[in-house]
């Protein structure tokens, strides 16, 4: 049997299919390059190449079906089988010719992306291709084998894809404790996964050889095709749900609607809702208990300005900083008073007074019990003010612009000023960019002598990152994890979650270096965008935006592993708290786009199971 003749025949047989697939896989990268060129950036492609490569398993399946379909028509099958053809060799040649052609087609957008970036940007780009390519090899082999048996292109493609999907989902269905496709598969179990992906094609190939040799023919009909379609949809939904919303809801409690953002805070080990109710959990059931029969609406009512023409800005902006002393409960806040001049774009705010206040909860309401005037912290008093606060043991550290004060809160009814300093270090902050992943960088170490070094480092990192953030909640959380004496912190970027490690520190600076990242999957990118709220607690990193909460295990030094994902598309997540047992309290507002009146909104407290 002449091998070259078979290969030539195969290429000729496939040429139009190959060209069609090439067109399909190149359309997005080329379109992106054209758009870039029109915008004056140059003729290059980046993101669309990855997308095109991601879709390559679908195309290789088509090529696989086309590869043998031409030979398996019953009458044509008799034609070549009646010749002295070594079926195994013939099928092997066809299989590998198609496979190599498929891989070359997948390589085209990658090569185009690399070359176009070298030419226009001076350097190539990293495109993650190993996994899509191995999956493409798997789908190719499965579809090839299916078509040898089924002998109908569309049906074989569907069955092949169904089998492929099943194999991809299978590890998540086995008791392997796999949760996170990216972390578990790519970093932890990639070898295992790769084994499945490579064993499946090998098995499919051997099966195809025997099926062709022994003329195995599975007759399908429309009904079975519909079953296959339903099966495919079911498996895809399983994969989708396992990757998107896998944190179990233990209890859901509708709560009374009120204006403003709902808050969940900590008072000792208990969660406080809206400043007036403890959230108690009994047998996975939520109950709200008013704090000592206190006021119905927390301390918001106390925030109206007492001087006409003046306005007040409070820190924490939402939520509270609480402290329990015996049976009493206190809260702390910074109030900054300002008046305004001008209107519209030329409006200016003039900050004049800043107070640190403590409140004690009485039977009726929150009563101010002590006030410290820290207005001398104001320097540049026009327009902007930066506030932050954190309680460390009995020390309350309050930041106002470039100054900090340390206050003893042993008796919250009598706040004692311990230290007050203005620091150039607080003026500086580092806005972390992609460039910071390439080299070591330094963050100013806040020289608050009254707290331990560990807390200083944590505060410095949190201040640096949070200082200018809109949702500055360092009063209740931190992005820093301390594990085995090592500090690391986490930020959420557009495409990934990034871990930075503290490598060293001296009297003035904390030195940090990029450690690892965990890219978002397409599904994650679809459901969430701007994770403004994020913190670390007990080795887990929590981040959420309006609709999505994600929880990651960050205890390992080498990887960030997703533990769970919770999505409610018509809901806004307003606040959350992590309980001592790891269960999560979530405060959400049902606010679909079709609602026109705010009183139609509904609010819920969710108790979510600890994702492990």
């Amino acid at each position: 049997m002449r091998v070259s003749g078979i290969i030539h025949q195969q290429i000729c047989q496939l040429k139009w299919h190959l060209l069609a697939c090439l067109g399909l896989i190149m359309v997005l990268p080329v379109e992106e390059a054209i758009v870039n060129l029109k915008e004056g950036d140059g003729f290059f492609t980046t993101a669309m190449t990855s997308l095109a490569v991601m879709f390559s398993p679908l195309l290789t399946g088509l090529i696989a079906c086309a590869n043998v379909q031409g030979d398996l028509n019953e009458k044509r099958y008799i034609f070549w089988r009646s010749k002295p053809a070594d079926v195994k060799l013939l099928i092997t040649l066809k299989f590998f010719t198609g496979l190599v052609a498929s891989l070359l087609i997948i390589a085209c957008p990658v090569v185009f992306a690399i070359l176009s970036n070298i030419i226009w940007n001076g350097e190539g780009i990293d495109i993650f291709v190993p996994l899509p390519i191995t999956i493409a090899i798997m789908t190719y082999s499965l579809c090839f084998a299916c078509n040898v048996v089924v002998r109908k292109t569309a049906r074989a493609w569907l069955i092949g894809m169904l089998t492929g999907c099943f194999l991809l989902v299978l590890p998540f269905m086995l008791p392997l404790n796999l949760r996170d496709f990216v972390s578990d598969i790519m970093f932890l179990k990639f070898g295992f996964y790769l084994t499945i992906i490579l064993v499946a094609p090998a098995a499919a190939f051997i099966f195809a050889l025997y099926a062709a040799k022994h003329d195995w023919h599975l007759r399908t009909n429309l009904k079975s095709l519909l079953w296959i379609g339903a099966g495919l949809a079911f498996i895809l939904l399983m994969l989708f749900s396992s990757q998107v919303a896998n944190i179990k809801v233990l209890h859901e409690k509708e709560i009374e609607t009120s204006f403003g953002r709902n808050t969940l805070d900590y008072a000792g080990s208990r969660a406080v809702f809206q400043g007036y109710s403890y959230v108690d959990i009994d047998k996975n059931s939520i109950s709200l208990n008013n704090i000592s029969g206190g006021p119905e609406f927390g301390i918001d009512d106390n925030l109206t300005s007492r001087v006409e023409g003046y306005y007040v800005r409070r820190y924490p902006n939402s939520g509270r900083l609480y402290k329990n002393v015996g049976d009493d409960i206190y809260s702390f806040a910074i109030h900054a008073y300002y008046h305004t001049e001008g209107k519209g774009p030329s409006l200016k705010r003039f900050y004049e007074k800043v107070y640190l206040r403590s409140y004690k909860h009485t039977d009726k309401s929150w009563m101010p019990v002590c006030e410290l005037d820290i207005s001398d912290c104001l320097t540049d008093n026009i327009n902007s003010i930066r506030l932050a606060m954190r309680m460390i043991d009995n020390r309350l550290i309050a930041i106002v612009n470039d100054s900090y004060v340390v206050v003893d809160t042993t008796d919250p009814g009598e706040l004692k000023l311990i230290d007050k300093k203005k620091l150039d270090a607080l003026k500086k902050y580092i806005r972390l960019t992609y460039m910071d992943r390439q080299k070591e960088f330094a963050i100013p170490l806040v020289p608050v002598e009254e707290i331990g070094l560990e807390e200083r480092i944590k505060l410095s990192i949190d201040l640096n990152y949070w200082y200018y953030g809109f949702r500055n909640e360092i009063n209740e959380s931190s992005i820093v994890d301390v594990h085995d004496g090592k500090f690391s912190f986490f930020i959420v970027d557009f495409d990934d979650i990034v871990r930075f490690d503290v490598t060293r520190w001296d009297d003035e600076k904390v030195y940090c270096k990029f450690s690892t990242l965990r890219p978002f999957t397409i599904l994650e990118s679809v459901t969430g965008h701007f994770y403004d709220d994020k913190f670390v607690k007990n080795g887990k990193f929590y981040c959420y935006d309006d609709h999505t909460l994600m929880v990651f295990d960050v205890r390992s030094n080498s990887r960030i592993r997703k533990l769970g994902h919770f999505v409610r598309m018509d809901y806004d997540i307003e606040d959350m708290a992590v309980l001592d047992d790891g269960n999560i309290l979530l405060c959400v507002r049902w606010n679909p786009e079709f609602l026109t009146r705010s009183d139609e909104q509904k609010k819920y407290l969710y108790l979510l199971k600890n994702p492990e």
Binding site: Q13, F79, S82, K83, D86
Partner: protein, 300 residues
């Protein structure tokens, strides 16, 4: 004893629960043109597929040119030429390309002979297969079956779908090409007039078994139809070898196999007056074997 080119012994084959071949026994003499007759769906193609080793029988064996079809499949296929019914080839290939492609399977492909065949069959070499007429398509299939000069050629209903002129043309080529070379031809068809002029041996397959196999001339000689007006006391049931009995008015038409003087005498004795003896063509013989009532409805 004549040497066999093809020998089939006790061949059984089933598609699932449907038993198609129920013990086919057949011997094709070397150098003969063997007509394999049967109605559509009686198992002709199944027999041939099994013969070629394309499917495994439930029982029995096939020997082609002294080789076992199932254990020496590749060698068998090297030595035979096969043309399937309504054969489909790769439409996008040109004739020269497909000749080259098929030649790749044979170490002994005779390119010169193939070229000659192409010329004789009037095949335009640079034309794509999909552009060929049905007749040309059959000619090409024949060329591809003969290009390696096989000893045994198996043709499975080769003229299926051809118009009468193309069919005759094709058969003329087959006879021209094969008869003179001493090649054994196993020719399956349900069109009897197609086989009659060329086949020197005949086998009739019906419902999965061979109901008659013999030399064509012998078959013609041994089958006779008698038309007679039976006496009232005439009893045909005692007569062996009745294939078909038909009552036409007062007369009865009886088709008898293995006809000899004894049978003629018996029939004459049952006739009230003169009896007419008619020689049958292959078509009529086939009909008598396949749909003849075997005297079961005899009520004379």
């Amino acid at each position: 004893m004549t040497e066999s080119a093809i020998k089939i012994e006790g061949l059984h084959f089933s598609y699932g629960k449907k038993q198609v071949l129920k013990g086919v026994d057949l011997e094709v003499p070397k150098g003969s043109i063997f007509g394999f007759l049967g109605r559509n769906g009686t198992g002709k193609t199944t027999t041939i597929k099994t013969l070629l080793g394309l499917q495994k029988p439930r029982a029995g064996r096939c020997i082609i040119g002294g080789l076992d079809s199932f254990t020496q499949t590749l060698e068998v296929r090297r030595r035979i030429g096969f043309m399937a019914e309504d054969q489909q080839m790769y439409g996008w290939m040109t004739i020269s390309r497909i000749i080259k492609w098929v030649a790749g399977f044979y170490a002994n492909w005779d390119y010169k002979f193939a070229d000659e065949l192409a010329d004789r069959l009037g095949l335009p070499k640079n034309t794509k297969v999909k552009a060929l007429s049905k007749g040309q398509n059959s000619s090409l299939a024949l060329l591809l079956a003969l290009g390696h000069r096989p000893d045994i050629v198996i043709l499975d209903d080769p003229t299926l779908g051809l118009d009468p002129i193309a069919r005759k043309d094709f058969l003329r080529h087959v006879i021209d090409l094969l008869q003179s070379n001493g090649v054994t031809v196993f020719f399956s068809s349900h069109l009897l007039y197609e086989i009659e002029p060329v086949a020197d041996h005949i086998a009739i397959l019906d419902k999965g078994v061979i109901i008659k196999a013999s030399k064509t001339e012998q078959l013609r000689e041994s089958i006779r139809k008698f038309v007679l007006a039976p006496k009232p006391e005439a009893n045909f049931k005692g007569l062996a070898g009745i294939l078909d009995v038909l009552k036409v008015g007062d007369n009865v038409s009886i088709t008898v196999e293995d006809c000899n003087e004894e049978k003629r005498g018996k029939l004459k004795g049952m006739s009230a007056n003169s009896m007419t003896e008619v020689a049958l063509n292959l078509d009529e013989i086939f009909e008598a074997y396949v749909i003849g009532n075997r005297g079961r409805e005899l009520s004379v």
